[in-house]
């Protein structure tokens, strides 16, 4: 009969209405500033620069290669390469960014900068409360604000951070193995030149080359 559907519907909504009072499980609302949901591991908002040392500026992994600047679809990254070089985590001499700015108002959180970075130096942060009262300067984030420690990265994205650490460890190990091989080759050469006696004693002490030790050493470096 006409109207029974309406009555049924009204009973249903009345149930919801009463139920929302005695059964708080029904309510899906999170009252945001006071209550928060823990951030999901795959969440991503805005890039940050990873650093390994206590002083953020000295330990930035970024070598100012500018790949991210060129790849960024909305062109929101601005990098100025440094004039001098400094040693990176592997002890190799590299440039570092004199300026590294990202325009927050332009960034679209696509994560392409992270994808293309060969140095594991730019990663996505989960911080989402990025609003600012200054809509010009406040939205241009410089390298001091962007720099965040590897510890932070491990905390927000544990799985990714482990993978990233493994890559770095492998790189370090490779570099060290190469250095060792070079050194051995050099020593052998020197020994061959100087004669077989006493050559081994003059060779430099080999560094520990096991991957586990290298992983432990990498972040501290």
């Amino acid at each position: 009969m006409l109207g029974t559907g309406i009555l049924k519907g009204m009973v249903e909504t009345a149930k919801n209405f009463a139920g929302s009072y005695h059964d708080p499980e029904r309510l899906t609302t999170v009252e945001y500033p006071e209550q928060r949901i823990a951030s999901k591991e795959n969440a991503r908002q805005f890039p940050f620069l990873v650093h390994d040392t206590e002083d953020p500026m000295k330990g930035l992994r970024c070598v100012a290669c500018q790949i991210c600047e060129k790849e960024c679809p909305p062109q929101c990254i601005y990098i100025v390469k440094s004039k001098d070089k400094r040693a990176d985590y592997k002890g190799q001499m590299q440039f570092y960014p004199a300026t590294f700015d990202i325009d927050l108002s332009v960034c679209m959180s696509c994560q392409i900068c992270v994808e293309v970075c060969p140095f594991e130096s730019i990663k996505m942060d989960t911080e989402f409360e990025l609003s600012n009262t200054d809509r010009f300067g406040g939205l241009l984030v410089n390298k001091h604000q962007l720099a965040k420690s590897n510890e932070h990265y491990r905390k927000i994205h544990p799985t990714e951070a482990a993978a990233s650490d493994a890559v770095l460890a492998a790189e370090t190990a490779k570099a060290q193995a190469k250095a060792k091989a070079d050194a051995e080759a050099k020593a052998a050469k020197a020994a061959a030149a100087a004669g077989p006696v006493g050559a081994v004693a003059s060779a430099p002490a080999p560094k520990p080359s096991s991957p586990a030790a290298a992983t432990a050493a990498a972040p501290a470096a």
Binding site: M1, L2, G3, G5, I6, G9, M10, E12, T13, A14, N16, F17, G19, S20, Y21, R26, L27, T28, T29, E31
Partner: protein, 419 residues
């Protein structure tokens, strides 16, 4: 004891009387009717907009609970942590709409665009002047034409809607206005016809007269007065009144553009309908006028069918409650019903809307009119116990027959690949 409750009941009337006697010596003679009118208008202008403000919050909270949400609960006293459970929201909304920029489209017809909200609010406020809010509390008692005044003034809101929609030079506005007018014109007929049933039975167009006819001791035509009756004689308790009330309520919802008849301002289709191009306080006026129109319609429904300011039973604790409290209580109950309906029902399609008005409501109101006449004529020949079911059956059968056409005709859909 009875005197005390009598005094509370009549407090607004005595207050006005006292004020008038105090002012009587000071005021020049020509100003007295004006001041008296102003004193009658002030409570209306204070109570109903405040009720509108509270309704907006309660509606949002109620709809939230219906949808298993919390609803607004933030706005309280500024600079403190006191939240008032969100009941500061309407003040914030009011301030916001006051200080917002008033945007008028460049192509708009400026004069008509400006006049439309005013031409909408004034008739809506005028309708309140004939409603009896309590015993001896009717601002403008028109013994000959009370109900006619209500409908005449209410009908002129259609033109304001057109003015708003046409002057905006916006296709959504015009579409909304066209929908609104088509809907209001169609639903005005069942609305007036269902009210007419009451007029026919009460034998008067005066709204206070109609309330008095629902008292215990006043003789209805054909029914002797009953001084000691305990139950009220609301028209709702007769078969034609019961059906008439629901027909009236349906038509009133359509007149007030409430869900499920909110096509004129369907957000998902035409933004906000005829007031799309209004912003700031003009928008607030449209919003206010819409809710005040709904309250006025509810007030009329209460007066016609729910005994106005009369309590449902005629003994002590109920008769102690002041008459205006009864009126406001019934009004609140109807508002809650409308909020509940809004949380439940989806919007109709235009053809369903028109079909419902012309193929269901109109025949039902006409049948109701005939049944009411029959009820009146059979008063002396058939006892009430037999008369009530007889008349009710005469309404229930057409209801069932007419309603069959509106049943959802769903068959299980067969899919070629998905099954």
């Amino acid at each position: 004891m009875a005197d005390f409750f009598q005094a509370i009941d009549q407090f607004p009337v005595t207050l006005k009387h006292w004020l008038m006697t105090q002012l009587g010596g000071v005021l020049p003679e020509w100003a007295e009717p004006l001041v008296s009118a102003a004193l009658s208008i002030t409570p209306i202008l204070a109570v109903f907009p405040l009720m509108f403000a509270l309704t907006t919050v309660i509606e949002r909270k109620g709809l939230g609970r219906i949808q298993n949400r919390i609803g607004p609960n933030r706005v309280g006293i500024p600079l403190t942590n006191i939240r008032l459970a969100g009941f500061g929201q309407f003040i914030a909304d009011g301030i916001k709409s006051l200080i917002k920029e008033d945007v008028v489209p460049r192509a708009a017809d400026k004069v008509v665009h400006f006049l439309a909200p005013i031409a909408l609010l004034i008739p809506v406020l005028l309708t309140y002047s004939v409603l009896p809010f309590g015993r001896n509390m009717v601002p403008l008692d028109l013994p000959q034409t009370g109900l006619l005044f209500f409908f005449a003034v209410g009908a002129s809101t259609e033109l304001s809607v057109f003015m708003a929609g046409w002057s905006s030079r916006n296709k959504y506005s015009l579409l909304g206005a066209m929908r609104a007018i088509a809907q209001m014109v169609s639903y005005e007929i069942p609305l007036i016809l269902s009210a007419l049933t009451v007029v026919m039975m009460a034998g008067t167009l005066s709204l206070s007269g109609i309330v008095e006819r629902q008292m215990w001791h006043v003789a209805m035509p054909g029914i002797p007065g009953d001084q000691d009756g305990l139950l009220a004689r609301w028209f709702l308790f007769t078969p034609w009144g019961l059906v008439g009330f629901f027909l009236f309520l349906t038509a009133a919802a359509a007149e007030a553009n409430r869900t499920p008849f909110d096509l004129p301002e369907a957000e998902s289709e035409i933004i906000a309908g005829y007031f799309t191009e209004y912003s700031g306080f003009k928008f607030a006026i449209f919003f206010l006028a819409e809710y005040l129109g709904l309250f006025a319609m509810c007030g009329l429904g209460i007066t016609l069918f729910l005994g106005g300011w009369l309590p449902p039973v005629n003994f002590a604790p109920f008769t102690w409650i002041p008459s205006w409290c009864w009126f406001l209580g019934k009004l609140s109950a109807l508002i809650v019903l409308f909020i509940w309906l809004r949380g439940t029902l989806p919007r109709l399609r235009t053809d369903q809307l028109m079909g419902f008005a012309w193929k269901f409501l109109l025949p039902m109101t006409l049948i109701n009119l005939v049944v009411a006449a029959l009820w009146h004529l059979l008063a002396n020949s058939i006892p009430l116990v037999a008369r009530w079911p007889l008349c009710f059956a005469m309404l229930a059968v057409p209801y069932w027959l007419l309603g069959r056409g509106f049943e959802a005709k769903f068959t299980k859909r067969e899919y070629r690949f998905a099954n």
